[in-house]
């Protein structure tokens, strides 16, 4: 993970980027109706997988844009980077 492929700028050094945690977490549509437990789960609980992780990064020292990264948390190998709003890639079982 020394080089990260920004979907806007191309390959840049890892130190230009910051990780901001798990991606694809949708804010509940009805925050005033859901229970404390559901709200707590949305705010704090995370998948934290040992394996493929989908996460948000920003290119702080570059285009300053946000994008998503699919990465293996055991090897730190980046499998794919993709723009915000694009669908979550499938996890292959190879």
């Amino acid at each position: 993970m020394f080089i990260i492929n920004c979907p806007y700028c191309g390959e840049r050094d890892q130190t230009e980027f910051t990780c901001h945690g798990e991606a694809h977490i949708a804010r509940p549509d009805n925050p005033s109706e859901i229970s404390d437990e559901e709200w707590g789960r949305y705010l704090f609980f995370r998948e934290n997988p040992k394996g493929t992780h989908f996460e948000r990064w920003t290119h702080d020292h570059g285009c300053r844009r946000w994008f998503n990264v699919m990465r293996d948390t055991v090897t730190d190998q980046i499998i794919k980077t993709y723009k915000m709003g694009e669908a979550k890639p499938e996890i292959s079982n190879e």
Partner: protein
């Protein structure tokens, strides 16, 4: 065999070749009353206090690797209790109280050294923060001294108080210090086995059997085992084990690095911490400088941190202590720490009956080892947390009663 002067002299006649092993490697029995998953300091300590204070006879500790090879042996060995909030102060000071008697309690020298810890302040805001925390410590009966720049310059040898981020003062806890971290795991392992605890190394838990909402067994790489109660103390793998039991945790696992320098003669007689320029350093009894700083921001189970973090540690170290600039760094390593949203641990019940969890110590679990183990043993035995452990329940993430040490003292542990 008790470690004593008598036995030391006696064994010297046989050239120290006949000391018995500190703990053995028994086979996994088919059934236990309590199984502790995770053979670090917190897990071994839990087993020890369960056997000693609560009279539980049939206990096993399952360790995936070897004793002392996980986070217990990977930290920077700092011990302190000057936390802001009452809940944390009670928990961490309980630990310091136990640290003070630990070597004689375990009959094992854990080299606990109360050499004092200086938490440096570099700005007006920092001074306000340490003043607030210092007074909070007074109220909680924790020793704290608020020092100005002259006092810091006088007390800490070789420090440069006039760097780019000048040192304006410090919060000193004299009861804080360091201990030899792997000795803590070894000491608890030996003492626990003397009380009949089975310590099973190279035994990874692969599955958790649940029947009618109650934990009934574990699947391990050494076979399956029936259990009455289970305590999960799996620092670095808390989410993995929780997932096996069918629930998730408010945790992200991230790498935290440390490194040591070449050994030199005694030069630093205290522990230095700075949140603002972010480095902490002490000198081990071997003479190495032990240096740590922040964790990486991305989730990882690789036990390896990023290169740029090493530079982030070294730059403030050299700025604070220009005399260290020509030291060579010998080794660096990483551990995986389980970080909670409020930087406070999770101790207590889980959605599964008789399955308890002690995790989420983030970057600062070592200092809490005896206190954490002690309150968790009571939690497992009684089925309910005691007054010290109660605020650290998993439920706080639903009620909102977070113990927010992240905002209170930045994050350096």
């Amino acid at each position: 065999m008790k470690y004593s002067l008598y036995n030391l002299v006696k064994n010297s006649f046989s050239y120290h070749e006949n000391w018995e092993k500190a703990w053995s490697s028994p086979d996994l029995k088919p059934e236990y009353d309590v199984v502790i998953v995770g053979g670090g300091g917190h897990g071994l300590g839990t087993a020890y206090y369960l056997a000693k204070e609560f009279g539980v006879k049939n206990i096993a500790v399952l360790e995936k690797g070897w004793i002392g090879g996980g986070n217990t042996g990977r930290n920077t060995t700092i011990i302190r209790s000057n936390y802001l909030w009452d809940e944390s102060a009670a928990l961490y000071n309980h630990a310091v109280n136990l640290w003070e008697g630990l070597s004689s309690e375990l009959n094992f020298n854990v080299m606990f050294s109360q050499r004092g810890l200086f938490h440096l302040a570099h700005s007006v805001h920092d001074m306000q923060e340490i003043t607030r925390r210092g007074y909070s410590n007074y109220l909680n009966g924790i020793d704290a001294e608020i020092l100005n720049q002259d006092q810091v310059a006088k007390k800490i040898p070789h420090i440069n108080v006039n760097g780019r981020y000048p040192v304006l003062g410090a919060l000193l806890q004299r009861r804080a210090g360091t201990a030899r971290h792997d000795a803590v795991a070894w000491g608890y392992a030996r003492a626990a086995e003397n009380l009949g605890v089975d310590i099973i190394q190279n035994c990874e838990v692969k599955g958790i059997d649940i029947s009618n909402g109650k934990v009934v067994g574990l699947q391990t790489t050494k076979g399956s085992v029936k259990v009455d109660k289970v305590g999960l103390v799996p620092a670095g793998h808390s989410s993995v084990l929780a997932n096996m039991a069918g629930f998730s945790l408010p945790i992200n696992s991230v790498p935290l690095q440390a490194l040591v320098s070449e050994p030199v003669k005694p030069i630093l007689d205290c522990v230095i911490m700075s949140n603002s320029v972010h480095v902490y350093v002490s000198q081990s009894d071997k003479g190495e400088l032990v240096v740590g700083a922040g964790s990486d921001a991305y989730n990882s189970y690789s036990q390896r941190g990023s290169f740029d973090m090493i530079e982030h540690m070294m730059a403030p170290l050299v700025e604070l202590f220009p005399i260290f600039s020509r030291l060579k760094m010998l080794r660096s390593w990483g551990g995986i720490v389980d970080v909670t949203p409020d930087r406070s641990p999770i101790i207590g019940k889980t959605p599964v009956k008789d399955l308890f969890i002690n995790c989420g110590w983030g970057t600062g679990g070592f200092k809490a080892t005896p206190g954490s183990a002690h309150v968790f043993a009571e939690t497992v035995f009684r089925g309910e947390p005691n007054d010290i452990a109660a605020p650290f329940s998993l439920e706080r993430h639903f009620s909102g009663a977070l113990v927010d040490e992240a905002a209170a003292a930045a994050v350096a542990h």
